[in-house]
């Protein structure tokens, strides 16, 4: 007997993978890692995704960006035809859930409230900040831990990153030699990704360390230049910790009463290169 082909079942794992690249732009971290994903499941070709945020007052514009990114990513999963997004417990929960699920833009849902062309400028501003943070982390690593000189760092080309996927370390070409820098690969991957997101040139001959607009940095200017990235890193990592803590408290994710309040509970988490 021949059965009619059942619709392909969309696995939760596939949905989760699709959502992993969705970032909170203010924190430059995946909403899956942050615990903002409250649940996702498919019913036939319709996917239901529930999001939650650290506070009732979390910004509607950032929430919208995340919810809309989640929808777009899920729509790209084979078999998905519809995405229903539900944002819980936010001052604007209803408007955001309804608007994003219907594929509307932020300014359609909140007329007169967004400035400029929807949320594009906001996204770009935070992509710049994320770039600054990730670049500072990588450059600090190259200077302080790998012992490179400032002149070496600013002269690096994209093609000098020989391998950033190796678990043993970052393989980097320095002049005519090749070095394996332990602990550097994750930082290099993050930096390359954020750089790509800004649309900076990725040909092998392109300079690896430029400012956010692609301009070269002089070795003498590097310490002053890095101050900006350091401020961005400290601010973003601090916000990340604040948001994680509030989410834990809000949804009781910190286990037994009082456990979340222990001293120094959030030491170095999320801050790989200091």
């Amino acid at each position: 007997m021949i059965e009619t082909a059942a619709p392909a079942v969309i696995s939760e794992a596939a949905l989760l993978e699709a959502l992993r690249p969705v970032h909170d732009p203010e924190l430059d971290e995946s909403l899956v890692e942050l615990g903002f994903l409250d649940g996702v499941h498919a019913e036939g070709g319709a996917v239901h995704v529930r999001l939650r945020l650290p506070t009732f007052w979390c910004a509607p514009n950032f929430a919208y960006l995340m919810a809309d990114d989640a929808r777009q990513r899920l729509l790209a999963v084979p078999g998905v035809r519809q995405v229903h997004v539900t944002l819980r417990d936010n001052a604007y929960a209803e408007e955001i859930s309804r608007g994003v699920s219907a594929g509307q833009g932020f300014s359609e849902v909140f007329p007169g409230q967004a400035e400029g062309d929807d949320l594009g400028a906001l996204r770009r501003l935070f992509a710049d900040k994320a770039f600054g943070m990730r670049q500072e982390q990588l450059v600090r690593f190259l200077l302080d831990q790998a012992g490179l000189a400032a002149t070496d760092v600013v002269a690096l080309r994209v093609g000098d990153v020989l391998d950033a996927t190796d678990a043993t370390g970052l393989r980097l070409r320095l002049g005519h030699t090749e070095r394996l820098l332990r602990g550097g690969a994750p930082l290099a991957r993050l930096y390359l990704d954020r750089r790509r997101r800004l649309g900076l040139p990725h040909a092998d001959a392109a300079l690896l360390m430029t400012d956010v607009d692609g301009a070269a940095i002089a070795a003498d200017d590097l310490p002053g230049y890095l101050q900006r990235g350091r401020r961005q890193r400290i601010s973003m990592t601090f916000n990340r910790m604040l948001c994680r803590g509030l989410l834990e408290t809000r949804y009781g994710l910190d286990g037994e009463e009082g456990r979340g309040n222990r001293e120094g509970r959030r030491g170095d988490e999320g801050c790989p290169a200091l």
Binding site: C58, I234, M241, R266, L274
Partner: protein, 337 residues
């Protein structure tokens, strides 16, 4: 007054406190409920467990409680009320000048009473400001640029209607402009959140003598705040919300303090508990015992001496508000009895 192990007295001015009414009877709508829930989670998340209150107590606390927590247990000599109205959420307001005035009138030496205004109140608000200034002898105001008012979701400091109010402050001798830049309400659009408007008015009113104290140091935009504050000598950082991290995350606290001290120096930072969000007792104890970790000292070349801590704990605020500094809490070392 806080006394160090070797007998030095430290003046403690808590530059940001509240006497709010978040009780269910005062809550107008779900936004009020969301406001209280959010505040309570900040309190619960960042306080040591023994300082966490039940929600009911947190919604509305008594006069005895505030007097004990600040002045008996918390080392505070003078505390500054920073009113926040939120009349769209709370029937009688969240923390109004009238509410705070009850305690100010009863304990005139313990409290400084600041006012509050909102440029969206137009001419009527200006008249009210004049009356408040006269009645309460105001030296400072607290502004909440993200406050909801009718359909409006906030205002900007550089807007012409705001400048009228700042002009009025100059005229009335209200020189300390505390601006809430930080949690809880995330403003609607990017610009209402930005600290750039502080930059604009700080430049504009520098010669007129206005000082702009950015509450919460612009969290979550500390990076932009530091940049602005470094350039504007009349911009200060209010450490409310930053300080409690000394318990939960000493490492991040050290990093943020390093940035603040690096860009602003110890002369433009003000201790605040944001009571009743947090109780000053444990923050003061921990901060007085705190120092930059060795790696920060080495890589950033930073240090924080006892003299610097004295400034942050009280002397900076004393300067802004012309408070008398008892000679034993000044810069000279006290002789133990």
């Amino acid at each position: 007054m806080y006394r160090t192990a070797d007998g030095q007295d430290i003046l403690v001015v808590d530059s940001h406190i509240h006497f709010w009414d978040g009780s269910p009877g005062n809550q107008k709508n779900r936004y009020a409920e969301g406001w209280v829930e959010c505040f309570y989670n900040y309190h619960k998340n960042l306080s040591p467990p023994e300082y966490v209150w039940p929600l009911e107590q947190y919604q509305r606390y008594s006069e005895q409680q505030i007097m004990k927590d600040l002045f008996e247990d918390g080392y505070v000599d003078v505390a500054i009320f920073q009113p926040t109205y939120l009349r769209d959420f709370f029937t009688n307001g969240w923390n109004t000048i009238e509410q705070d005035a009850v305690l100010k009138e009863k304990y005139p030496d313990k409290f400084i009473l600041n006012g509050a205004w909102d440029p969206r109140d137009g001419d009527a608000g200006l008249t009210q400001l004049e009356e408040d200034a006269k009645r309460y002898n105001l030296k400072g105001v607290k502004l909440y640029t993200a406050e909801w008012k009718g359909d409006s979701r906030g205002y900007k400091l550089g807007a012409p209607e705001t400048l009228r109010y700042l002009d009025k402050c100059v005229e009335l001798g209200i020189t300390n402009i505390h601006i809430h830049k930080g949690p809880t309400i995330w403003p609607f659009n990017r610009d209402a959140f930005d600290v750039a408007d502080v930059d604009e008015v700080a430049t504009l009113y520098r010669d007129a003598g206005l000082r702009f104290i950015v509450e919460h140091c612009g969290i979550p935009r500390i990076e932009d705040f530091c940049w602005i504050a470094a350039q504007e000598p009349n911009v200060y950082g209010g450490l409310a919300v930053v300080m409690p991290f000394i318990h939960a995350s000493p490492h991040y606290f050290a990093e943020v303090m390093a940035e603040l001290v690096w860009w602003l120096g110890p002369d433009r930072l003000l201790f605040s508990s944001d009571y009743a969000l947090w109780s000053p007792k444990w923050i003061v104890d921990k901060f007085m015992a705190w120092d930059f970790p060795e790696d920060v000292k080495a890589t950033r070349g930073l240090s924080l001496s006892l003299e610097d801590k004295k400034k942050i704990m009280g002397l900076n605020a004393a300067k802004l508000y012309d408070l008398p500094v008892p000679s034993e809490a000044g810069f000279q070392v006290a002789v133990p009895a």
